[in-house]
C-alpha cells in the first residue's frame, strides 16, 4: 500500500481541537441521542444536523492537516449517506424503543417493550415467526433459483457466437421492467380464466388450471416471477467473470488434458467466485425485502406472507411505527448475521486457497 507522508499532529482523545474527530463523534452521538430522546423531532433534527456538520468539519480539518486525501475523498459520500440513510436509520432505531404511532402525536419511552412484544406476545409472535419462516423460504428459493438460472444463462453466453449481443439484451430485459408491471402481468399469466399458463395446461387436461390456490402453487408462482426478473442480474455478473478468464488458461488445460469438471473448479470457478459472492450478497439482501411481488400476486395469501409485507402493513397501514421499527431491526440483525457469514466464508476460502 502506498502511504502518504503523514505529519501527525499529536492529539489525545480529550484535546478540544478542530481536528479531533474521535471526540467530535462521541460528543456528536451523545448530543444527538439526547436531543432525539428529549426534544421533539423538529428540533432534534437541526441539532443532529449540526452535530453531523461538526463531525464532518473535524474530519476535513484532520484530513487536511495530515495531507490525508483518503478522508477528503470519502467525506462527500459519507456525508450524503449519513444525512440521507444513516440518520433516518438511527432515528427509526431510536423509535423502536418508544411507544409511538405515527398517526398519534404522543410518544413514550418503553425500552425494550416493543422487542419483547414482537418476540413473545401470544398473538403477534407466532405471526411474526411464521412471516419470518416464509421470508426465509423465499430467500432460499428465489436466491437459489436466481443463482442457478443466472449461472446457466451465463454459461450459454460465455462463448462468442453470431448475434450474441442481440440475444443477450433480450435476456437482460426482465430486470429493467417495473415490478408493478411484472406483478400485474404475471398475475394475468397465472389467472385460471385469462392466463396463458391455464390456457396451455387446458389444451392437455381440458380443465382450467388454478395455480395459486395452494401454498406450493402460490410460492412457485412468486418464486418463478422473481427468479425470472432477477436471474439476469446474476447472469451479468457471472458472465463478466466467465469472459475474464484468459483464453490461454483453457489452452493450457487442454494441453494438460484436464477434465471438464476439474477445469471448471480449478480454473473457471476462481474467476467467478467473487462475483457470485457479490450477486449472492445483493440478491439475499433484496430477497429479504421482498414484498411487491407478493402484494401483487397473492396479497400474502396461501402462506406467502413475508416479513417485509407484514412490515408495510404494520408501519404504513396501521401506523405502528415503533413496532415496525422493532421488527425491522430484528430483521436487520438476521440479515447482518447472514451476510457476515457469507463474507466470512468467502474470505476464508480466498485466504486459505
Amino acid at each position: 500500500m502506498t502511504s502518504t507522508t503523514a505529519q501527525t499532529i499529536p492529539t489525545t482523545f480529550t484535546t478540544v481541537a478542530p481536528d479531533n474527530w474521535k471526540l467530535a463523534i462521541v460528543v456528536g452521538l451523545v448530543v444527538s441521542l439526547l436531543a432525539c430522546l428529549i426534544l421533539p423531532p423538529n428540533i432534534s433534527f437541526w441539532i443532529v444536523g449540526a452535530m453531523v456538520a461538526m463531525v464532518a468539519m473535524t474530519f476535513v480539518v484532520n484530513a487536511y492537516h495530515r495531507h490525508y486525501y483518503g478522508g477528503l475523498l470519502v467525506s462527500p459520500a459519507i456525508a450524503v449517506l449519513v444525512v440521507m440513510n444513516i440518520f433516518p436509520l438511527l432515528w427509526s432505531l431510536g423509535l423502536s424503543f418508544f411507544a409511538y404511532q405515527s398517526n398519534q402525536q404522543t410518544i413514550r419511552f418503553v425500552g425494550l417493550a416493543n422487542y419483547v412484544k414482537i418476540l413473545t406476545d401470544d398473538l403477534k409472535a407466532p405471526e411474526n415467526w411464521a412471516n419470518l419462516t416464509n421470508t426465509a423460504m423465499f430467500v432460499v428459493l428465489t436466491v437459489t433459483a436466481q443463482m442457478i438460472v443466472g449461472f446457466l444463462l451465463a454459461l450459454m453466453f460465455a462463448k462468442q457466437f453470431p448475434l450474441r449481443k442481440y440475444l443477450l439484451i433480450l435476456v437482460l430485459t426482465p430486470m429493467m421492467l417495473s415490478v408493478v408491471a411484472v406483478g400485474v402481468f404475471f398475475s394475468n399469466y397465472y389467472d385460471p380464466t385469462f392466463g396463458l399458463l391455464s390456457y396451455f395446461i387446458r389444451l392437455f387436461t381440458g380443465e382450467q388450471f388454478i395455480l395459486m390456490d395452494n401454498k406450493a402453487g402460490a410460492v412457485a408462482g412468486i418464486v418463478f416471477a422473481d427468479a425470472w426478473m432477477w436471474s439476469p442480474f446474476v447472469m451479468l455478473l457471472v458472465l463478466a467473470g466467465l469472459v475474464s478468464v484468459p483464453k490461454y488458461l483453457y489452452e493450457a488445460a487442454a494441453i494438460d488434458r484436464v477434465s471438464g469438471w476439474r477445469r471448471f473448479w480449478s480454473i473457471t470457478f476462481p474467476y467467478i467466485r467473487g462475483l457470485l459472492m457479490l450477486a449472492l450478497l445483493f440478491r439475499t439482501i433484496e430477497a429479504f425485502k421482498m414484498a411487491d411481488l407478493v402484494i401483487l400476486l397473492t396479497k400474502g395469501g396461501n402462506g406467502t406472507m413475508t416479513i417485509s409485507y407484514h412490515l408495510i402493513r404494520i408501519a404504513n397501514e396501521q401506523n405502528k411505527t415503533s413496532e415496525g421499527a422493532a421488527i425491522s431491526y430484528v430483521m436487520l440483525f438476521i440479515v447482518i448475521v447472514l451476510t457476515n457469514l457469507y463474507l466470512y466464508i468467502a474470505n476464508r476460502r480466498t485466504e486459505g486457497a
Binding site: F45, S102, N103, N319
Partner: protein, 477 residues
C-alpha cells in the same frame, strides 16, 4: 403545541431559503387562495375539478384555485397517510375513506367542522339535506354521534350487474323454471327482489363448460353464474362478510355501543358463523380465481366485462367501464338491480349492506381564509344544481332533493337501484384501530375462502383478536 408550531414555521422558512425547488407550501393572500387537495385519480374527482375550474365563482371575490394532487387509487392511502402523519402539512383538504376518520381525527389531522356548520346556515342546510345514513357514515366520529368531519365526495353502493342476453333468453328461462320452479329474473325490477337463495340457484344453473350451450349458442369458454368480492386485499372480503352477517341478524363489533359492547360472542355468534358459511357456499359457483383469494372488486368486474359471468355484485363506482364498449364486451347487454339480500323467517328480505365511497375532509392546519374559501367551495359543491350536474356527468349524490328528483334515476342505468338502497347502508368502524381490525380479519377470512379453515375457527380467531386489541385500546371495558 404552539411553541412547536412556531419552530416548525421557522424551520420551513429556513427550508425555503435553503432549497431552490420548493413545492407544496400554501401561500395565502387576500386575493389569491389555493386549496391543496389530495384526491384519487379517477373520474369522479376529475369531474369535480373540471366543474370547479369552469363554473365556480367564489362569493368572496377572491381568486380561488383548487389544486388537486391526483394520486392513483392503489397508492392513495399510502401517500395521504405518509403526508399527514409525517406532519408535512401539504394538504388543506383530502379525500378519505370513511373508515380512516378515527385514525386521522385522533391524530389531530382532520378538522371538526361543527363550528363551521353552525356558523353558516347555508352549509347547515346542505348537511341536513343529506341522507342520514350517508351522513353518519361519511361525516361522524365517533360513528353516529353529532361530531362532523366530512362531506360526501362520491357515495358508492353495491348493486347487481346482470347480463340481459343470458337472463332474458327464452331457453334459459324455461330450463331454469323447470329446474328450480322459480322465475329467472330478467328486468331490473325483478333483480331488485333477488335474495341469496335465488342468487345461489343462478350460480349453480349457469355453470357451463366450454362448448356447452349458453343462451342458444355454444359457450366459447367456461362460464360462471355469479361473482362478488371475496379477495384478501384491502376490504374485499370484509365488505361481503359484513353484509351477510348483518342480513342474517348478526353483527360485527359495534363501535356505537362502545365501551360496553364486546367482540367475543358477537363477532363469533352462531348467527355470524352461519352467515359466513352461507357466503362461503357461493364460492364454488364463482370463477376459479376466487379460490386463490384474489377475487377483488376489479377482478369480478373484469370477469363480468369480459363476458365470463352472468351476474356480478359490485360498486356502482366501477360501472362506467361496463357501459363503455371500449372496455366492455357486454356494454349493450346490461341490467342493474339491487344487491341480493337474505330472506328472513318472516319472508322479508334484509338488504343491509356495507357502504362504499368516500367523503372529503378539511385538515387542522388550515388558516381562516383557507377554511372560509373551502366552506364557500363546499356550499357550492353541495348545492342542488351542481350535484345534479355532477350526477349527470357520472357522479352520485347523497343530497335528498337531488336523488329524489325524478330526473335522477334516468341519469345512469344503476341510479334506480342505487337510490333505493340508501336506507340499507351501514358502515363498519371509524375507530383508529380500523386497519388493525381490518387486516387481521381479512387474513382470517382469506383462510376460510381458500378452504384452509372453517367458519367457526375463523370467527373465533377474529373475535379473540378484536377483543384483545379493543380492550387494550380501552374501547371494550
Amino acid at each position: 403545541m404552539t411553541a412547536r408550531t412556531k419552530l416548525q414555521g421557522l424551520a420551513t422558512a429556513a427550508g425555503f431559503a435553503l432549497a431552490l425547488f420548493v413545492g407544496g407550501a400554501t401561500t395565502a393572500s387576500a386575493e389569491d387562495v389555493t386549496l391543496h387537495m389530495a384526491g384519487p385519480d379517477w373520474p369522479p374527482m376529475r369531474i369535480m375539478k373540471d366543474m370547479f375550474d369552469k363554473e365556480y365563482k367564489p362569493a368572496s371575490g377572491n381568486k380561488v384555485t383548487l389544486d388537486i394532487d391526483f394520486i392513483p387509487w392503489p397508492d392513495f392511502y399510502t401517500r395521504v397517510n405518509a403526508s399527514l402523519t409525517s406532519g408535512e402539512k401539504k394538504y388543506n383538504m383530502a379525500v378519505s375513506d370513511s373508515q380512516w376518520l378515527g385514525a386521522f381525527v385522533e391524530g389531530g389531522y382532520f378538522r371538526k367542522i361543527n363550528d363551521l356548520i353552525d356558523a353558516d346556515p347555508d352549509l347547515k342546510k346542505a348537511m341536513d339535506g343529506m341522507h342520514p345514513k350517508v351522513l353518519n357514515a361519511y361525516s361522524t366520529y365517533p360513528n353516529s354521534t353529532p361530531n362532523f368531519y366530512g362531506f360526501p365526495q362520491f357515495p358508492d353502493i353495491l348493486v347487481s350487474y346482470a347480463r340481459k342476453d343470458i337472463f332474458c333468453n327464452d331457453e334459459e328461462q324455461k330450463n331454469f323454471k323447470a329446474k328450480y320452479n322459480k322465475k329467472l329474473p330478467c328486468t331490473g325490477e325483478e333483480f331488485d327482489d333477488i335474495d341469496w337463495d335465488l342468487f345461489g340457484n343462478i350460480g349453480e344453473f349457469f355453470q357451463r363448460k366450454k362448448g356447452d350451450m349458453l343462451a342458444g349458442k355454444p359457450a366459447d369458454d367456461d362460464f360462471y353464474g355469479i361473482a362478488f368480492q371475496v379477495g384478501k386485499g384491502y376490504d374485499f372480503s370484509t365488505t361481503s362478510v359484513h353484509s351477510f352477517v348483518w342480513q342474517a341478524g348478526g353483527d360485527i363489533w359495534d363501535e356505537t355501543k362502545a365501551p360496553s359492547g364486546h367482540a367475543e360472542g358477537q363477532v363469533n355468534s352462531d348467527v355470524a358463523v352461519k352467515a359466513l358459511d352461507h357466503m362461503l357456499s357461493f364460492i364454488k359457483y364463482m370463477p376459479p380465481v376466487a379460490k386463490t383469494g384474489t377475487m377483488d372488486i376489479f377482478k369480478s368486474d373484469e370477469l363480468f366485462r369480459e363476458g365470463k359471468v352472468a351476474l356480478n355484485v359490485d360498486w356502482v363506482g366501477l360501472g362506467e367501464a361496463s357501459l363503455d364498449p371500449k372496455t366492455s364486451k357486454v356494454s349493450d347487454k346490461l341490467i342493474f338491480g339491487k344487491a341480493p339480500g337474505t330472506k328472513g323467517a318472516d319472508g322479508k328480505v334484509n338488504r343491509s349492506s356495507q357502504i362504499g365511497g368516500q367523503p372529503f375532509v378539511l385538515t387542522t392546519w388550515n388558516t381562516d381564509i383557507i377554511n372560509k374559501e373551502a366552506v364557500g367551495f363546499i356550499k357550492w359543491w353541495l348545492s342542488k344544481d351542481v350535484q345534479m350536474e355532477y350526477a349527470s356527468k357520472g357522479g352520485q349524490s347523497a343530497i335528498t332533493e337531488v336523488y329524489n328528483d325524478p330526473k335522477y334515476v334516468t341519469l345512469r342505468p344503476w341510479n334506480r337501484a342505487w337510490a333505493s338502497q340508501l336506507d340499507d347502508q351501514k358502515d363498519m368502524w371509524h375507530v383508529p384501530q380500523f386497519f388493525d381490525l381490518l387486516t387481521q380479519q381479512q387474513d382470517q377470512y382469506d383462510l376460510a375462502i381458500t378452504g384452509k379453515q372453517d367458519a367457526k375457527t375463523t370467527l373465533d380467531n377474529v373475535a379473540k383478536y378484536q377483543e384483545k386489541l379493543l380492550t387494550e385500546a380501552g374501547l371494550i371495558k
